[in-house]
């Protein structure tokens, strides 16, 4: 059971307070998009062994969605940050680079 920090209410809490929401930083494709783009948006997900970016919601708490960067193999948490961004902020990327030099995730590094 993980421990996560909610960046909104500042609480460090047990995983049971939160609910996972899958991969972060998906770009929505709506009407008019190609079949490939829409398929990718709906169904294709990263499944890395290592650095990953996820959406979480503080369900049994402040109710806010946020993002978490963590390592799926070691369970190390690099940081949590706002859900209102379209890509990982620089300080989170730096924190990952400090621990996992040369990391890549989708188009981010």
């Amino acid at each position: 059971m993980l421990i996560l920090d909610c960046p909104y209410c500042g609480v460090t809490a047990e995983e049971t307070e939160f609910h996972g929401g899958g991969e972060a930083h998906l770009k929505r494709f709506g009407p008019g998009s190609s079949d490939e783009d829409f398929e990718g948006y709906l169904f294709h997900r990263e499944n890395p062994r290592g650095v990953h970016f996820e959406r979480w919601r503080h369900v049994n708490g402040c109710g806010k969605w946020f993002h978490v960067a963590r390592d799926t193999a070691t369970l190390e948490v690099f940081g949590s940050y706002s859900a209102q961004v379209t890509e990982p902020p620089q300080e989170i990327r730096d924190a990952i680079t400090a621990k996992r030099p040369g990391w890549r995730w989708r188009e981010f590094a």
């Binding site: 421990i3 929505r28 009407p31 369970l75 948490v77």
Partner: protein
């Protein structure tokens, strides 16, 4: 004969006699005895029968690893199967019964399986029960079910209580042996908040039995002094009878405390499950001795050497007069010396090592014990008791050199560190070739949120260290690694630590063990078939070798094929012997074959402890509407809907549910019905962008809705599938009230929040779930308006409050919001009042409606009436694969909008396609009701040989209004096939014939609701 010795027994109090029964026979023991010790003291060597062959089995171990001595404990609400006699403390009145035999332990019919063992090899189930196909259901399964399982399943409700307990510590030390004590002391002295837990009732582990001295005094004194020092420390918590059950992510762990198993008369919960967050966890879990694999190593009386020593020293019990020791290491010599010291005889020590042992061997020889080097056991004589052993050369194939009569064989194949808790959360192991054991790799500890390792191993559980001159598993090394682990744990958490002076230790130097995976090493097939690896599940050396020959290379596959390590002891005792046997058969090194996965809990924990307080009423909160008590007082038959209870119907005395439903429907259609609709979800969506937001959420246009009006809306997932429906009312320019289904309120609220927070976070919208703020009552039927007019002077005429409008009205002095919407097809008002006055208002409506024969109706009448009208129900007509277009709801999908959730998905080729199952009405030819969920069959069969299908029933009822069965269903291209008759085979063997019709069965033009 096994018996109580005249003297000795560290753990028992001979002044306190305890009476108990085993298989109905009265026996007595002493306070401090385990059940296994007390049974041995009463000459009860045979304690159970094995799972597969029903072989007679005696106790083999003295602790948690015991595979054989499992008993049914207690009676009635206190009954519990599969309890290990070795970890069960006896108390006055304990009742135990042996398992897996019929009619008696001594004479068992199932033992015939042993005679058939030639025909019951590894993978027997997979090989034998495959054909013919029909035989599985009628022949094999009933037989397998009869003979499967060890203990009985409890029949009564558990009479005890259990609890969960949350705790936070800097350092948790698991295991209260000398290593655990020392680790806890080191961490505690640094100032860390420490929890030390020990699964047995005793501190000190097995060190006091094994001997040696610390600071010139017996180990026992050192243990007592250390415990006293720990008890004096305010930052250290000590708990016995508490097992470290599992280690999980980020320092989470479970402690399983058995509070009253030994004292059932005491008050309070029986077990307590500690849910702990620890900064660091120290595993000081010791080691478990391995059996040796020789023919007949399962005959009652063959025991682990350490267990024999424990029974003699700890409990003053003699397992037998003559004990032959067979070993591949020095430690087992301690057993010979202890047995001899108790006045019993040791006819021989068979040391498989050609070079023999070290200092301990010399001591044994000095006491006149005969030591035979390079020798082993060819086979054990005896069936229900050991009668003797045939001695052979370990290097050979089992030619008998000598016969030795004995009652007990004390065997030792070396020791395996208990690495379970280290491994639970991903800690890696390394193979120690010299000691032939897996041990924790300190470089690969499980990691916490900060990426640092959070588990440290201490003592023997850490294995043999290579960073020291004092290599080995001895007492000094145990203390040294324990101090190191405790200090390191505290230091890593930021506590100031200082060098701890290690006590001086005197102990025997030991000569290295030599791995012995089969005895004798060249044993032939006949011997291998009697050499047990897994005692409880009857897996022998020959079985694992057969699996290897049949192509099983992965240890995980071999485990499942042979059931090696799948018994209740989960391979604690002897899995390593099986892994080594597999490695040898495959010609690979043991570390290449690897281990199976260690999973929590360490030993089985009670279901009660897992449930904790969450049982009966407290299992799940029950949501009650403001009118709940009235329903209860008026005989409601309840239907669970989510966490709510809703009245299904209100049967009168002697009235069947079906009759009650029919009465409620007819009364509503004819005059006046009342429904408690409070459970419907109510979400307020407010803000300048609320309309724009709802246009994205609903398939139809909500932003054009006028204040004061209502509109039915559909919600889809981004996948295009229908997820909820309900009526939306526009309160003012910025405010909407969205009704959801009863089960959907929280889900749809979360759905809205998700999109607002993660996609359209710049839109100015706020959502609040006000479901429980209102009591909502549907007033339904031709007389609905009349009854409301009795309660108000305000204008609620058809002109002022038309269909699909809402209005704030004061009804009988209560501020009410009246929505004129209908889910029944009748003239209908849904009235929302503050929850606090809901119950009173319901009473007032009943009073006012009395002259119209007002009839409260339940969910089933609601369902019948909506089905008569062809209204869909989320969860009946939808199942997560249905799009609105399938349900003929195109009218509720906006063509003008550029976008809404699900729009793109519904344009996919297989969605935007007439070749789908679509909603129709179904009417049986004979007027009966179709079975729920029945499928309409088509011509031909599919690839699995099953009938092809072309549709299914989604809702089916008997309509009292129409006097016949009505149904809705999804049928392949259904709307184009009106009038066609389909076959619906029922589970009752009958085939129902039903005609495809329009789904609206009643008042097609909506004249009744629009008056």
């Amino acid at each position: 004969m096994s018996t109580r010795l005249k003297e000795g027994g560290r753990r028992i109090d001979r002044a306190k006699q305890v009476e108990f029964t085993f298989n109905g026979k009265r026996m007595s023991g002493f306070e401090g005895d385990t059940l296994a010790a007390a049974l041995l003291a009463n000459d009860q060597v045979m304690m159970g029968r094995s799972f597969k062959y029903h072989r007679p089995r005696g106790v083999v171990a003295s602790g948690a690893e015991e595979p054989n001595a499992l008993v049914n404990l207690g009676e009635g609400g206190k009954f519990e199967p599969n309890q290990r006699a070795t970890t069960t403390e006896i108390f006055d009145g304990l009742t135990a019964a042996s398992q897996n035999h019929w009619p008696s332990l001594d004479f068992d019919v199932g033992a015939i399986n042993a005679k058939l063992s030639r025909f019951l090899p590894a993978g027997f189930y997979y090989k034998t029960f495959m054909f013919p196909r029909f035989a599985w259901k009628h022949l094999y399964e009933p037989i397998v079910r009869q003979s499967a399982g060890l203990g009985r399943v409890p029949k009564d409700r558990d009479a005890d209580t259990y609890e969960h307990y949350y705790a936070f510590f800097d350092v948790v030390v698991i295991g209260g042996g000398v290593a655990g004590l020392m680790a806890a002391k080191s961490a505690g002295e640094a100032g860390a908040k420490v929890l030390l837990m020990e699964q047995t009732p005793h501190w000190g582990g097995r060190a006091p039995v094994d001997g040696g001295e610390v600071d010139g005094k017996p180990v026992e004194d050192f243990v007592a002094a250390t415990v006293a020092a720990l008890e004096a420390m305010g930052n250290v918590t000590l708990r016995t009878r508490m097992m470290g059950a599992g280690v999980y992510d980020h320092g989470y762990m479970l402690g399983y405390q058995r509070l009253r198993d030994h004292a059932p008369a005491a008050k309070g919960p029986r077990h307590r499950l500690w849910r702990i967050r620890a900064g660091r966890i120290v595993t000081a879990t010791g080691a478990i001795e391995r059996p040796l694999s020789f023919a007949g190593n399962d005959v009652p009386g063959v025991m682990l050497a350490s267990a024999v020593r424990d029974y003699v020293v700890d409990y003053g019990v003699s397992p037998g007069d003559r004990v032959v020791v067979v070993t591949n290491n020095d430690d087992a010599y301690r057993t010979a010396i202890a047995v001899k010291a108790a006045g019993l005889s040791v006819p021989a020590i068979l040391d498989a090592r050609a070079g023999g042992g070290g200092a301990l061997a010399e001591e044994a020889k000095a006491q006149g014990i005969r030591v035979l080097n390079g020798m082993g056991v060819a086979k054990v004589h005896g069936k229900k008791r050991v009668e003797g052993v045939a001695v052979c050369r370990q290097a050979g194939e089992g030619a008998v050199e000598e016969e030795i009569g004995c009652d007990v064989v004390a065997m030792s194949g070396g020791w395996s560190p208990v690495v379970h808790l280290w491994s639970h959360c991903g800690g890696k192991l390394v193979w120690n070739d010299k000691y032939a054991m897996f041990q924790p790799n300190p470089e690969a500890s499980p990691t916490g949120a900060d990426g640092e390792g959070f588990v440290l191993a201490a003592g023997v559980a850490a294995g043999a260290q290579t960073d020291t001159d004092f290599e080995g598993l001895g007492l000094y090394e145990t203390l040294r690694t324990a101090v190191r682990a405790g200090t390191q744990a505290a230091a890593e958490l930021g506590f100031k630590t200082r060098d701890v002076a290690l006590p001086t230790v005197s102990e025997h130097d030991e000569v290295a063990m030599e791995p012995v995976w089969l005895m004798p090493q060249g044993a032939g097939a006949k011997l291998r078939m009697k050499a047990w690896l897994d005692y409880q599940n009857d897996v022998k050396v020959s079985d694992v070798q057969l699996a290897a020959r049949e192509g099983y290379e992965s240890v995980e596959h071999t485990k499942r094929y042979t059931t090696l390590g799948m018994a209740t002891d989960q391979g604690k005792l002897s899995n390593i012997n099986g892994l080594a046997t597999l490695a040898n058969a495959l010609g690979e090194a043991i570390p290449q074959v690897g281990t199976t996965t260690f999973r929590p809990p360490y030993t089985p924990i009670s279901m009660g402890a897992i449930a904790g307080e969450a049982r009966a009423e407290t299992f799940q909160p029950l949501r009650r509407t403001p009118m709940h008590d009235w329903h209860e007082e008026n005989g409601a038959h309840w239907e669970p809907v989510g966490q709510w209870r809703r009245p299904y119907c209100y049967p009168r005395k002697g009235e069947s549910h079906a009759a009650a439903v029919a009465r409620e429907v007819m009364a509503t259609r004819d005059s006046l019905g009342l429904l408690d609709a409070s459970t419907l979800g109510k979400l307020v969506v407010k803000g300048p962008d609320a309309g724009k937001f709802l246009d994205m959420l609903y398939t139809n246009m909500m932003s054009t809705l006028k204040p004061g009006r209502c509109r039915y809306g559909l919600m889809c997932s981004e996948n295009g599938f229908l997820i909820d429906d309900g009526v939306v009312a526009r309160i003012d320019e910025d405010t909407f009230l969205c009704h959801t289904t009863t089960g959907g309120a929280e889900r749809i609220h979360a759905h809205m929040e998700e999109w607002l927070q993660t996609e359209w976070w710049d839109w100015q919208v706020y959502v609040a779930n006000v479901t429980e703020q209102y009591a909502q009552i549907a007033v339904v039927g031709p007389n609905a308006r009349k009854v409301l007019e009795k309660l108000t002077d305000e204008d609620i005429s058809a002109e002022s409050l038309p269909f699909m409008a809402w209005k704030d009205v004061t009804l009988d002095g209560v501020n009410s919001r009246v929505y004129r919407i209908s889910f029944s097809g009748e003239l209908s008002y849904e009235i929302a009042v503050p929850a606090s006055v809901g119950r009173a208002f319901w009473g007032r409506l009943l009073q006012a409606g009395e002259e119209y024969g007002v009839t409260p109706y339940g969910t089933e009448a609601l369902h019948v009436m909506r089905a008569e009208k062809g209204f869909i129900m989320i969860g009946d007509e939808t199942d997560g694969t249905v799009i609105p277009q399938d349900l003929g709801l195109n009218w509720a999908i906006s063509k003008k909008k550029d976008d809404y959730l699900g729009k793109r998905a519904q344009a996919r080729s297989f969605m935007d396609n007439p070749d789908r199952w679509q909603l129709v009405g179904l009417e049986t030819v004979d007027g009966s009701a179709l079975p729920d969920g029945a499928y309409a069959v088509a011509e031909g069969t599919n690839a699995n040989g099953q009938r092809n299908v072309q549709g299914r029933v989604t809702s089916t009822y008997f309509s009292p209004t129409l006097g016949k069965g009505i149904a809705m269903g999804l049928v392949h291209k259904g709307p184009d096939r009106m009038g066609e008759v389909l076959d619906f085979p029922g589970t009752d063997g009958k085939t129902y014939k039903a005609k495809i019709v329009d789904p609206v069965f009643y008042d097609r033009d909506g004249e009744k609701q629009n008056v």
